[in-house]
């Protein structure tokens, strides 16, 4: 027994020192990375030393994030953690629920009524300045609401539907509120939302497009008017990144291309880039394949098409609009798309110079709830 204890301690000492040595040496020998695709952010680099930053504690904080951001084999460790968590029965990670059939679902936690009121007020005041423009506001429920039944049992999630109704009640009467909830819910067995990403699919966007047309009095195109093309079948999106582990099969991406009169000119204003398509296929080789739609988010996109030249639409939007835009081009001669999270120019001037006739706010309930950039409107 005593001999075994000796073996135990000595072997423990040796194994421990070996482990520490291997980890330390590989930490010294690792190569630095500037950007992490999984996390969609720049990784911390070695901080610059100065006495001031040391005293303020800034240096130490930065150095610590530098070491963990650059730790060798980081993605392996993150992946292992996700697996351990799964083993421990956790069904949530980074505010993402792991639902039935490996459907990943973002948490939705309604913010205070005051914060919501402030945002709605910003919209109301902005619209008040432009009474001659037809204004529509479409709020889209995310998978959190439509695929509620796939959430883990008892998951404490607030109701998006109630949130949407609350906003509808607060919007001023000259704004038409479009709620595609019923239409999406009736089709919930179709492929409306990606399983691994927080966006909706082109099909989800199409259903909302039909609702939009009904509300504003346009004749929606039939699904048969589009050629549906499968462009990717190996898409693990943002929610997979949040969970840190690939669960189940990857998503596939369909794009809808109009069979007739599809000619457009897309102008990415701040990037000074011009193309003839709203799809950007080079993004299909990247991790975030949803960027195939309008090449991701941009401060300002201008689209000219063969649609009615007298109708000029301004869309104020989040990323759900990216896959929605292709359905609109045939109805409006010119569309200006503004993403307030990135747009820094004067929106009043844009409206004046373009002669905007129609306006659409397009947000998913989750972004509208969590993001504050709408306050930049006025």
């Amino acid at each position: 027994m005593d001999k075994n204890n000796k073996v135990n301690r000595r072997l423990m000492a040796v194994v421990f020192l070996l482990f520490i040595a291997i980890m330390s040496v590989s930490n010294i020998l690792r190569r630095e990375k500037a950007f992490s695709e999984e996390e969609n952010r720049n990784l911390a680099g070695r901080p610059e030393f100065s006495i001031n930053s040391l005293i303020s504690g800034e240096y130490i904080k930065k150095y610590e994030s530098y070491i963990s951001d650059q730790f060798p084999g980081r993605s392996f460790f993150v992946n292992t953690k996700a697996k351990v968590d799964k083993l421990m029965g956790k069904s949530e990670s980074n505010d993402v629920f792991i639902g039935k059939d490996n459907q990943l679902i973002e948490d939705f936690e309604e913010r205070s009524k005051e914060e919501t009121d402030e945002k709605v007020l910003a919209v109301n005041e902005f619209v008040k300045k432009h009474e001659n423009i037809n204004t529509n506001f479409m709020l889209i429920p995310t998978a959190t609401e439509i695929l509620k039944e796939k959430l883990p049992k008892y998951a404490p999630v607030d109701s998006q539907l109630e949130y949407m109704k609350y906003i509808q009640g607060k919007l001023s009467s000259n704004i038409k509120f479009i709620n595609p909830y019923d239409a999406l819910l009736n089709n919930k067995d179709k492929y409306l939302y990606y399983k691994t990403d927080h966006h909706w699919t082109s099909q989800g966007a199409y259903i909302a497009y039909v609702e939009f047309c009904k509300a504003v009095g346009l004749e929606p195109k039939k699904e048969g008017d589009f050629q549906v093309e499968l462009v990717a079948n190996d898409f693990y999106g943002s929610l997979t990144s949040k969970v840190g582990d690939k669960r189940g099969k990857p998503d596939y991406i369909n794009v809808y291309i109009p069979k007739e009169n599809g000619e457009i000119v897309v102008n990415y204003i701040s990037e000074q880039k011009r193309t003839t398509s709203l799809y950007s296929s080079e993004n299909l080789d990247k991790k975030d394949k949803y960027e195939v739609f309008t090449d991701g988010n941009h401060p300002h996109i201008n689209i000219k098409s063969l649609g009615d030249p007298k109708k000029k639409l301004l869309i104020i939007k989040d990323s759900y609009a990216n896959s929605f835009l292709p359905f609109l081009t045939s109805h409006y001669g010119e569309i200006d798309v503004v993403d307030l999270r990135y747009y820094m120019d004067n929106i009043e001037e844009l409206i004046k110079s373009k002669g905007i006739t129609d306006m659409l706010f397009l947000y998913n309930a989750n972004t509208f709830n969590s993001d504050d950039s709408i306050l930049n409107l006025n």
Partner: protein, 468 residues
């Protein structure tokens, strides 16, 4: 720096071990001192000078007390001066704001002060300094002539920032004569791994339960959620704190030191008095040795004893933080300990041990509500909900969901707060001999590995949208 960090594990620790074991004996304490100062400066680059100043004061004070052996008035004056200096540093940085707040409250004035951040570990090292000068003054030990040895005693990084509070008389000898060995090192490794596992795998994971339940407004809390939340905190604080002590004791062993135990399965206790003999033992001993006994302890009648208990438990509470809820938390224990000394202790011995156990656990669990709720009125309304006083519903989805997703970790935590695992390991080694040893080492390495996995993943922070 904290032990459960990549920088400590894979940079500081290996470098310190290499330098320590390369250096000859006479420089080893110097290595400890320098590395400990670096360890401290990493989190506290400014207040390190406060600590160095305090060390110098007590070092010189100790020497002067001893030099004036014959002149009892003078040595008492020196002793008191040093204690006052130590306490005023602690008071200024930890309690000054609290005092001003109370003055404002009572007198209805509005004095403004600049809130200073609390210097890391000041409550711990001040108590070690006091233990030293008090021991010298009472003649329990001779003053340390060597400033390096003395500095090493106070700053020793394993116990510098969160204990255990090592009394000088316990390590005096070890400062000069300690033996490092592979066996002791291996023992230290096991202990360290136990600690990091407790902290990273159990405490950190359970911590999220209490954070989310604490965030719910009182009206929306269900009875079950209230219990789950505070039980989770009960487990979290034990695993956090005792894990830290385990790491400290283990690291001490790696450098040849033997510290006294700080926790001994406190949640197995069958009375509040027993709980405090098993919880944060080094703090309890410190108050016993340097306050309770010098005040006369229990030898001068019940009235004096009651007064002494009040003082000790008021101070114990206040030591944990500059806020009234800590004071109430301390006095709460003081009252039950006094009652147990009066008659309750005898009753608890007679009743079935399960009853005594439940009595202790319920009181301890309630105490944590006071401990972690800044406002006493909030704590009281939380406790009301726990006992179903009010309109709150008994069970809701939040409770069900929390329980469902955390069941495994909660069960593991409860099992690990009993001596079960310890006994299991002894049994494994006895029954399977060498094979058992391999199993135990494999388990240890697995715990260490998964802890590292969690530490690395901590900074994993994916964004939905690219941030410029």
């Amino acid at each position: 720096m904290v032990f459960s960090s990549l920088i400590f594990l894979f940079m500081f620790l290996p470098i310190t071990l290499i330098i320590y074991y390369i250096c000859p004996r006479k420089f080893k304490n110097l290595v400890i001192l320098i590395m400990s100062l670096i360890f401290y400066a990493w989190g506290e680059p400014v207040y390190i000078f406060l600590m160095i100043g305090s060390i110098l004061i007590d070092y010189i004070g100790g020497l002067m007390i001893e030099a004036n052996k014959e002149d009892s008035e003078k040595r008492t004056a020196i002793f008191i001066t040093v204690i006052v200096l130590n306490l005023s540093f602690l008071f200024f940085f930890k309690y000054y704001g609290f005092l001003i707040d109370n003055i404002n409250e009572i007198l209805g004035v509005n004095l403004q002060i600049r809130n200073l951040p609390l210097p890391l570990g000041i409550s711990f090292y001040t108590f070690q300094l006091i233990s030293y000068v008090a021991d010298v003054y009472m003649g329990k030990v001779v003053a340390q002539k060597n400033i390096i040895n003395f500095g090493a005693y106070i700053t020793m990084f394993p116990q510098l920032v969160a204990g255990p509070i090592v009394q000088y008389n316990d390590v005096e000898d070890q400062l000069n004569n300690r033996i490092e060995s592979v066996d002791k090192f291996g023992e230290g490794v096991e202990r360290f791994i136990r600690g990091i596992g407790k902290k990273v795998l159990i405490a950190n994971n359970i911590g999220m339960i209490w954070t989310s339940i604490k965030g719910i407004s009182v009206g929306e809390l269900s009875v079950l959620s209230a219990w789950i939340g505070i039980i989770a905190f009960t487990l979290q604080i034990y695993f956090d704190f005792s894990g830290y002590s385990d790491m400290a004791i283990g690291l001490g062993k790696m450098f040849g030191f033997e510290f006294l135990e700080n926790f001994d399965h406190p949640y197995m206790s069958k009375s509040i008095s027993e709980f405090w003999r098993r919880w944060h033992i080094s703090l309890g001993s410190w108050f016993r040795d340097y306050i309770y006994i010098p005040l006369g302890g229990n030898r001068r009648g019940q009235a004096v004893q009651f007064r002494n208990l009040l003082i000790v438990w008021f101070a114990t509470g206040l030591w944990h933080g500059a806020s009234w809820n800590f004071v109430i938390w301390g006095l709460y224990f003081g009252i039950f300990i006094f009652l147990e000394k009066l008659f309750l202790g005898k009753v608890l011995k007679k009743v079935p041990s399960a009853v005594a156990h439940i009595y202790t656990l319920v009181l301890v669990i309630i105490s944590w509500v006071f401990f972690d709720t800044a406002k006493v009125s909030d704590a009281l309304s939380y406790i009301k909900i726990m006992f179903g006083i009010g309109e709150n519903i008994f069970i809701d989805n939040m409770a069900k969901y929390t329980l469902k997703t955390n069941l495994i970790i909660l069960v593991i935590a409860i099992i690990c707060s009993t001596p079960l695992i310890k006994n299991l390991i002894i049994h494994l080694k006895k029954k399977y001999k060498l094979k058992g040893v391999f199993i135990v080492i494999a388990i240890n390495m697995l715990v260490l590995f998964i802890s590292v996995v969690y530490l690395i993943s901590e900074s994993y922070n994916p964004f939905l949208y690219f941030r410029f």
